[in-house]
C-alpha cells in the first residue's frame, strides 16, 4: 500500500453486532434510531435537512458527490448519505467548515456546467437541483477554471445527453440498472475524463437503451433531459397535472401527465408513486402518449360511399400489397382510404347503425349479430358493451382480444383453481425464493414488471426463464432454458416427474388442498427427464436442477406470458404450471402463486366485466340458470342461455355468413387475428360493420359506418391491471372535433336497438358492475383513490387489498385445486422441407398490438419504424441474408416481405416476427388452429419458409 488510507481507529474497531437502536447527537439534539440508519436519514427524521446531489431515497447510496459531508469528529468529514449512525456519534451538519466544503464542491461542479442561460433543464422544466444548490451557496460565480466542452449526444429520439451538464452522480446508473434492470448506463474512463456511457460507449440512440426515461427522471441536472414531443417543455407549475394510469399494458403503472390546456396537449409524463409500479414507467408510458393528439384522429362520423360497395380493403397494405415497405410520410395514408367515406352527422350515422343492426337481428335472428369489445376500454365501457350485445342484440356473441392472449390460461385456471385472476401480484416476487418466468418476453411486454423481477434477483430470488427465445429477460436468469418451440408440456412434465422422483412433493398440501395428484403421477411417469430432454432440448440435469430448486424452495412463484398460452396446447401448458404450484404447495402464501401476465391495460377488467361469450360479469356462466336469472332481473330482458362465439369463431361465422352484422369497439381484428387472408374475406363478407375507434384502422376499411370515439386520454373510467388492481383513469384531454365518449356511443346505439340506457356517468355503471358480482364488492370510485385498490378487498377504505389469494381454500366445487395432467402433443403445423422454419410471433417493446396507437406516437415510431423478422445469424448466413435485407416469408396461408434482423436471441430454425406492422402483417402467415378449451389461436407456432428477395429491390 502506498498512500495514506485514512484509517479511523474508532470506526475500525466498532464490532459488527446484532441490529439494535443507537443514540447519537445531531447538531446537539439526541436522536435514537435503528443502527442501520444513515446519518442523512436520521437527520431527516429529526427535521434536519442535509443537502444532497447524488443521493435519492429511491436508490441505494453511493456517496460520490460529497455534498452531504458532515462533521463526525474525525480526521475527515463523513458522507451523511452513506455513513451509518454509531452509538455516541456526535454529528454536526452545518459548521462553517462543513458549509465551506459544500460550497467548494458546488463551485467545482459549476465550473464545468453550462451557464444557467444555456442549461438544458433550467430552460425547460426549470428544476435543476445543482443550480438551486448553487444559488443557495452563492456558487454560480465559481471562480475556477472552466472545463473543456464535453459533447452533446442527441442520438436518442426522446432523450438528450448533455455530457457537459453531467456531474457523475450515478443516479442514472442506478436508475437504469438497479431500478429498471436495463443495464445500459455506466461510467467510462477514469479520473477527470470519466463520463457516463451507454453500452460500449455508444451514442445513446445506437445503444441497447430502451428509452424508458428512468435516467431522465433520476438526473438532478441538465445532463439527461427529455426532448419535446408535442410542445416545448415547461415548468410543472405552468401546466396542469392529471394523475392517472398508463394506457398500455396490464402492469398498470401510475403516472402524471403534465398538460397544456391552452393547446389541449400533454407536454410530458412522469411516473407516479403507487404500491405496485412505484413510480416506474417504460418507453410507452413515458413517451408514447401523443397518439391521442395525432392529426389522424377521427373527428366526424363516416359513412361508406355507395361506390365503395361491394366492400373490400381500401389500402394497398390491407389488400396485402404492402411488401414490407413503410409508407413515406406516415404509417397510414388517409388519402388512400378516406375518399371511400363521407362525413355524416351523428344522428344520421347512429340512426343508420341502429337501423341496420336491428334489421339483421329481426331478419336473421340475434345470433347473426356479434360484438367485438376491447381490452383497451374501461370496465364501464366493457360492461355496457356486453350488456348491449346480450340484452340489446340478444346474443352472447361478444368477445374481445383476451381470446388472443390468455384465454387458455383463463380456461386452465378456472378449471384448476376456480378463478381466472392472478393468485398473487408481480411485486410479490420479492418474497419468492425462486420464480419461473415461462414464455414471457417480460422486458418488452411488461417492462415495469420485469424491473421488479430483475431487482428481486439481485436480492436473492433465483430466476428460471423458460422460453424458446433468448430475450433480454434471459440475461437475468439464473437458469435459462431455451426450450424447443411447442414442447412446453414435455419439458414441464419432465420437471414434475423429477420433483416426484426426488421426493420433493408437498404431501400434506397435496392431500389437503388438491385433487388429481394420482393421475398426474401416472401421466408424468412417462416423462422422465431424459425423455423430456429429447423432446424439449433441455438436458436432463438441468431439468433435475430446476426440480430441486423449485421443490426445495420455501416459496416459488410462476409468471407466464403468451409463450405459454398462444398454442393449440395452451390450456395444457398452463395446466402444467398449475400442477407445478399445486404439488409443491406454492399457492396461497407470500411469494408463491400463479400469475399470467395480462397484456392489455384492461384485459383483466374487460373479462371481469363480462366481455367474453360464455360468462356474464364476474365469470358467471351464461348457461347457469341462476346467473341468467340474476342478469335477466337486473336488465329486465330475457337472455340467451347459449354461450356465444369467440373472436376467432366469429370471423369464421362471418365468412360462412351466419354472422352478418358486427359492432367493433376499439378492436382491430384485421391485424390481430390469425390468417389475415381469411379475416379479410370474413370482414368483407359482413352485411354490416360499424367500427367505433379513434383512427381509421385496418378493420375500419371494411366498415359501413365509422364512429369517431374518445381515446383513453379523454375519459373517466376504471381499469384493472394484471394484479387485480382497479384504478381510476382520469380525463386528460378534450376529445377532438365531434368525437364522442364511448360510454355515450354505446348507449346511443343501445337506445336505437331497443334497449334504453340512460347512465349519466361511469360511476353509475361501476356501481351496477360491482353489485352484480362478488369479486369487487366494496369498491367505489371514492375509495379507489389515487393509487387504486386490489380486489378482493374486505376493507377498501383502509386496505390496499388482498395480495395473495387462496391461503385457505379454492373457489372450486370441493374447495381443492384440481390438478389436471396433460400429455405432450406437437404443434399443429410442423416444419417440413417446403416450410422449414418455425415462426413465432409477438410484440416489440415499442409497439402495441396493431400499432394504431404506437405507430402514431412520435417516439415509438421513431425508435421502431419498421417491421423485421428476427433470424439467427447462422440461418441468415446460410440464406445469404444480411441485416436489413428484405426476405420473403411464406406459409401455407400467404406470404409477406419484410426486412431481416440478425439476432443471436433466435435459435437456428426459428424466426420471430412482431405482428404490429400492417405493411408486413405477420398474421398473414399464422395458422388459425385453436386450442380446444381456450379457443386461442396458435400464434406461437407455424411453419414458414424464408427466402431472400432479389437484392435489386433492397
Amino acid at each position: 500500500m502506498t498512500h495514506a488510507r485514512g484509517y479511523d481507529l474508532v470506526a475500525m474497531t466498532t464490532a459488527q453486532s446484532e441490529l439494535r437502536t443507537v443514540t447519537l447527537t445531531i447538531d446537539g439534539t439526541a436522536v435514537t434510531t435503528h443502527e442501520n440508519t444513515t446519518i442523512w436519514e436520521a437527520a431527516r427524521d429529526a427535521g434536519i435537512e442535509i443537502p444532497v446531489l447524488c443521493h435519492d431515497e429511491r436508490y441505494d447510496p453511493v456517496g460520490v458527490c460529497r455534498v452531504c459531508a458532515v462533521d463526525v469528529g474525525q480526521r475527515t468529514l463523513a458522507a451523511a448519505c452513506i455513513r451509518t449512525v454509531e452509538e455516541g456519534m456526535k454529528v454536526t451538519t452545518a459548521t462553517e467548515q462543513v458549509e465551506a466544503q459544500r460550497k467548494m464542491l458546488v463551485r467545482l461542479l459549476m465550473a464545468d456546467q453550462p451557464t444557467p442561460a444555456d442549461d438544458p433543464k433550467e430552460t425547460t422544466t426549470g428544476d435543476n437541483e445543482l443550480l438551486s444548490l448553487a444559488r443557495e451557496y452563492d456558487a454560480i460565480e465559481h471562480g475556477l477554471p472552466i472545463g473543456d466542452a464535453r459533447p452533446l449526444d442527441s442520438s436518442n429520439p426522446v432523450i438528450e445527453t448533455h455530457h457537459d451538464a453531467c456531474i457523475l452522480c450515478d443516479r442514472c446508473v442506478r436508475a437504469c440498472d438497479d431500478i429498471q434492470g436495463n443495464d445500459v448506463i455506466g461510467r467510462t474512463g477514469k479520473g477527470y475524463e470519466t463520463r457516463i456511457a451507454f453500452d460500449l460507449d455508444l451514442p445513446m440512440g445506437e445503444s441497447s437503451c430502451v428509452s424508458c426515461g428512468e435516467c431522465v427522471a433520476a438526473c438532478p441536472t441538465g445532463a439527461l433531459v427529455n426532448k419535446p414531443i408535442t410542445a416545448p417543455l415547461r415548468p410543472r407549475k405552468d401546466l396542469k397535472q392529471v394523475d392517472t394510469v398508463c394506457p398500455y399494458c396490464g402492469v398498470g403503472c401510475a403516472l402524471t401527465y403534465h398538460v397544456d390546456e391552452q393547446i389541449n396537449a400533454i407536454v410530458f409524463a412522469e411516473g407516479r408513486d403507487q404500491p405496485a409500479s412505484q413510480g416506474r414507467l417504460c418507453v410507452k408510458g413515458r413517451y408514447g402518449w401523443d397518439y391521442a393528439m395525432s392529426p389522424q384522429r377521427l373527428t366526424r362520423p363516416l359513412i361508406r360511399r355507395e361506390e365503395h360497395y361491394p366492400k373490400g380493403p381500401l389500402s394497398a397494405d390491407v389488400r396485402g400489397e404492402g411488401r414490407g415497405r413503410r409508407k413515406a410520410g406516415g404509417v397510414v395514408d388517409y388519402d388512400e382510404v378516406m375518399p371511400a367515406f363521407r362525413e355524416a352527422s351523428w344522428d344520421e350515422a347512429l340512426d343508420l347503425v341502429g337501423e341496420r343492426l336491428r334489421a339483421i337481428r329481426d331478419e336473421h335472428g340475434a345470433d347473426a349479430l356479434a360484438g367485438f369489445g376491447s381490452a383497451k376500454c374501461s370496465n364501464e365501457e366493457a360492461f355496457l358493451f356486453q350488456k348491449l350485445v346480450r340484452a340489446g342484440f340478444g346474443t352472447n356473441n361478444v368477445d374481445h382480444c383476451t381470446r388472443l392472449c390468455h384465454a387458455s390460461s383463463v380456461a386452465a385456471m378456472l378449471e384448476g383453481i376456480g378463478s381466472a385472476a392472478v393468485t398473487t401480484t408481480y411485486g410479490d416476487i420479492v418474497n419468492a425464493d425462486v420464480a419461473i418466468l415461462a414464455g414471457s418476453n417480460t422486458t418488452a411486454n411488461h417492462p415495469v414488471a420485469s424491473s421488479f423481477f430483475t431487482q428481486a434477483r439481485r436480492r436473492g430470488t433465483k430466476i428460471i426463464v423458460v422460453d424458446p427465445r433468448q430475450e433480454r429477460i434471459a440475461d437475468h436468469a439464473d437458469i435459462f432454458c431455451q426450450v424447443k418451440p411447442g414442447t412446453d408440456v414435455a419439458f414441464f412434465n419432465g420437471v414434475l416427474h423429477a420433483i416426484i422422483e426426488l421426493g420433493l412433493v408437498d404431501a400434506e398440501y397435496v392431500a389437503t388442498r388438491t385433487s388429481g395428484f394420482d393421475e398426474l403421477e401416472s401421466v408424468v411417469a412417462a416423462y422422465p427427464p431424459e425423455r423430456a430432454a429429447q423432446i424439449s432440448d433441455i438436458d436432463a440435469d438441468t431439468i433435475r436442477t430446476i426440480a430441486r430448486l423449485w421443490g426445495e424452495a420455501h416459496a416459488g412463484v410462476i409468471y407466464w406470458g403468451m409463450g405459454m398460452s398462444q398454442h393449440t396446447t395452451g390450456t395444457d401448458n398452463c395446466r402444467c404450471l398449475i400442477a407445478l404450484c399445486a404439488i409443491t404447495g406454492n399457492i396461497g402464501k407470500p411469494g408463491t402463486g400463479l400469475h399470467p401476465l395480462r397484456g392489455q391495460n384492461n384485459v383483466q377488467g374487460a373479462s371481469d366485466s363480462g366481455l367474453i361469450p360464455m360468462m356474464y360479469p364476474d365469470y358467471q356462466p351464461v348457461d347457469d340458470p341462476a346467473a341468467s336469472a340474476r342478469f335477466e332481473q337486473a336488465w329486465g330482458r330475457p337472455l340467451s342461455p347459449v354461450p356465444g362465439l369467440t373472436v376467432t369463431e366469429i370471423i369464421g361465422a362471418a365468412l360462412t355468413g351466419s354472422v352478418k352484422g358486427m359492432y367493433a369497439l376499439g378492436e382491430n381484428p384485421f391485424l390481430s387475428d390469425p390468417n389475415i387472408n381469411k379475416v379479410r374475406k370474413g370482414l368483407a363478407n359482413l352485411e354490416f360493420l360499424v367500427v367505433q375507434d379513434i383512427f381509421l384502422t385496418e378493420t375500419a376499411e371494411f366498415a359501413d359506418v365509422v364512429l369517431p370515439a374518445s381515446s383513453y386520454m379523454e375519459k373517466l373510467g376504471t381499469f384493472t391491471n394484471t394484479d387485480r388492481r382497479v384504478q381510476l383513469g382520469q380525463p386528460v384531454l378534450e376529445p377532438p372535433g365531434d368525437a364522442r365518449l364511448d360510454f355515450e356511443l354505446i348507449q346511443e346505439i343501445s337506445n336505437r336497438v331497443g334497449l334504453p340506457m340512460a347512465y349519466e356517468s361511469p360511476v353509475e355503471v361501476f356501481e351496477e358492475l360491482v353489485s352484480l358480482g362478488e369479486s369487487m364488492t366494496g369498491l367505489t370510485y371514492d375509495n379507489l383513490g389515487g393509487t387504486g385498490k386490489l380486489y378482493p378487498n374486505p376493507d377498501p377504505e383502509s386496505s390496499d387489498g388482498t395480495v395473495v389469494l387462496f391461503d385457505d381454500g379454492f373457489p372450486t366445487d370441493d374447495g381443492r385445486a384440481r390438478i389436471v395432467a396433460a400429455e405432450w402433443l406437437p404443434a399443429k403445423e410442423l416444419p417440413d422441407d417446403e416450410f422449414p422454419f418455425v415462426l413465432n410471433t409477438g410484440r416489440l417493446l415499442e409497439h402495441w398490438h396493431t400499432g394504431s396507437m404506437t405507430r402514431r406516437s412520435y417516439a415509438l415510431d421513431a425508435i421502431a419504424p419498421e417491421a423485421h423478422v428476427f433470424i439467427s445469424p447462422e440461418d441468415a448466413a446460410r440464406l445469404g441474408v444480411e441485416n436489413d435485407d428484405f426476405v420473403c416469408l411464406r406459409s401455407r396461408r400467404g406470404s409477406i416481405e419484410v426486412r431481416a434482423r440478425l439476432s443471436h436471441r433466435e435459435t437456428p430454425g426459428n424466426v420471430f416476427m412482431p405482428f404490429h406492422f400492417r405493411e408486413a402483417a405477420a398474421n398473414v402467415l399464422t395458422i388459425d388452429e385453436i386450442d380446444p378449451h381456450g379457443k386461442i389461436p396458435e400464434f406461437k407456432f407455424c411453419a414458414v419458409s424464408v427466402e431472400p428477395v432479389d437484392s435489386a429491390e433492397r
Binding site: M1, T2, A4, Q101, P145, A197
Partner: protein
Amino acid sequence: MAGREARAGRFPGPSLIPALHAIQRQQGWLPHDALVELSRETRRPLYEIQGLVSFYPHFRTSGPPPAIEVGVCRDLACWLRDDFVEPEAVASHYEGDADASVRPVSCLGRCDVAPAAVVNGEPVTVARLGEAVEAARAGALAPAAAQRPDRTWPTDPYAGADETAHRYTVLRSALAGAPDPDAAIEELKASNLRGMGGAGFPTGLKWGLVRAEAGAPKYVICNADESEPGTFKDRQILAELPHLVLEGMLIGMIAVGAEQGWVFIRHEYGPEEAIIRAEIAQLEEAGLLGNDALGGGRSLSLDVFVSPGGYILGEETALIECMEGHRGEPRNKPPFPGTHGLWGKPTLMNSVETFAAVPAILSRGSSWWCEQGAGDADGLKFFAVSGHVAEPGVYCVPLGTPLGELIELAGGVADGCRLGAVQPGGASSNFLGAANLDVALDFDGVAAAGSMLGSGAVVVMNEDTDLLAAATNVLGFFRQESCGKCVPCRVGSKKAETILIDLLAGGGGTADVDQRIAELEEALRLTSICGLGQVALGPVMSVARFDQAQSRDI
C-alpha cells in the same frame, strides 16, 4: 447490508477481468466485436465491460498494439533527474517510426534507475531506451531480470540460507501450533509493528480484529501494488526476500483463519512477479501449501493477482473492487476490509514490507524487534531513496533514523549540491525543508515535522529544484491517477492543476499560490472518499507554506 455501497457487488458472477486478459493475450487488444461476444456469452451488461476496459490502463481498445510500445515515466523521481526527457519529446523522436508508439506513463517503480521507461512491458532506463527499442524491433528484447544483488537484510532471520528447507521455520512451527494464533497476534502487538504501506495501522490489532470476525471464509491479501512516485522498496523486498513476504502472509492466514491468500502485484513488476511465483511453486513442492499443509490438517493456498494497472488499486478497497471484477474505485468506509473485504468477507490486507517483518518478529521476539529502532521508535524500516542523491536505492535502517543520516547513507545530495527539500513519505507526504535533517524517520517524528512517514519513499530535491513545479508534478500524478469516483478529487485535482500550471507558465511562484488552492486543498482533504484525494494537494500547500530562505540558511 449496513454501509454496503449500492454499486459494490453489483454484478452477479465471476470477475470478467480474467476473460478480458485472455482476449487481449490472444488478439493483442480488445476488439469491439470480441467484447460484444463476451457480453453475450457471459450474459453480462456491455456497460460493465466498458467500465472495466476504459478504467484499467492495461486494456487496449484502440487497435492492435504497435510492434514497439514505449512508456516513459513523467513522475517526480524521474522528472527531477538531469537526464529526464519529457514523454512528448521521446514521442516526437519516434514520430514517423511506423513500428513505435510512445506514451507517457505513471511511476514505474524504478526510481532508483530514473529516469525510467518501459518497452513492450520490459522495464528499461531512459538512458538505454534507444538500445531497447532497437532490440525490440529486432525481436530480441531480453526479458528484464529483477535486481538481486548478493547481500543480506537485517529483517531476514534466514540470511545466508537459500533453500526452502532452511527457511519458513516460523511457519512450520505455527502449523504445528506454536505460536498459536492468539500468541502470534499478541507478539505482533507487543512489537508495535505498524502497517508499512502508508497508513501505519497497528498490525497486531488489525490481525486480531480479523481473527475475531465471525464471517467465513476469510481472505488474506498482500498488497504489492506500490505505485507512488519514489516508492520501490516493496519491489526489492519482493525480489530479495520473497520468502519473508509469503511466510508472513501464511502466518497471517493461520492467525485469522484464512485458507486463501493472494499477492496483488502491479503489472509493471513482471520480474518480481516471476520470483514470487517461483517461490510459491517451491512452497507447494515443500508441502507448505495445499489441502493439508505439512500434514497439519490446514488448507493453505496462495495465488498471484496481477493488477490491470492504476495507482488507485493500492487503496485497499479499490484493490478489492478490482479483484471482484469491478472498476477499481475505493469504497466508502466504514465498513473496512477487516469486516467487509473481498466478496464481502473478512479480509486481512497488509503490505509487502509489513508481512515481511512478521517472521523476524516471531522468530526473534518482539523485544528484539523493538530494540532495533532508534530513539523511541521500534523496529526496522525499509526506505526507497531517490531523486537528487548519489546512490538511489533501498535502505533498511532503524525506524527513527534521522533524515539526514539516511540521505548520507544514500551518498548524500548528488553532484555536491545542497539540499532543497525532501518528500519523506512518498508523493502523498508534505515537503520538508532542509531544516529538517534531524527529523527522526518514524511515524511520530515525521508527523511532528508536518509531514508523514507514508510509504517510506524519500525523494530528495536539491536546492535548485523549483519546488512549486515539483509539487505540481506530484499533483499531476494524483490527478492522472484519480479514479474519478468522487467530486472533490475528480474535479478538484484537475482545477488545481490547471490553476498551478497556468501560474507556473506565467512565471509565478509560491507567493502567487492563491486562496483557491488553499480552499481546494481543504475540500479535497476533508471530503474525498479515499486517501488519494485527501492528500493530493497537501504537497502543493506544503510548498506554498515553505519559507525557502530559512531552509537555505541551515
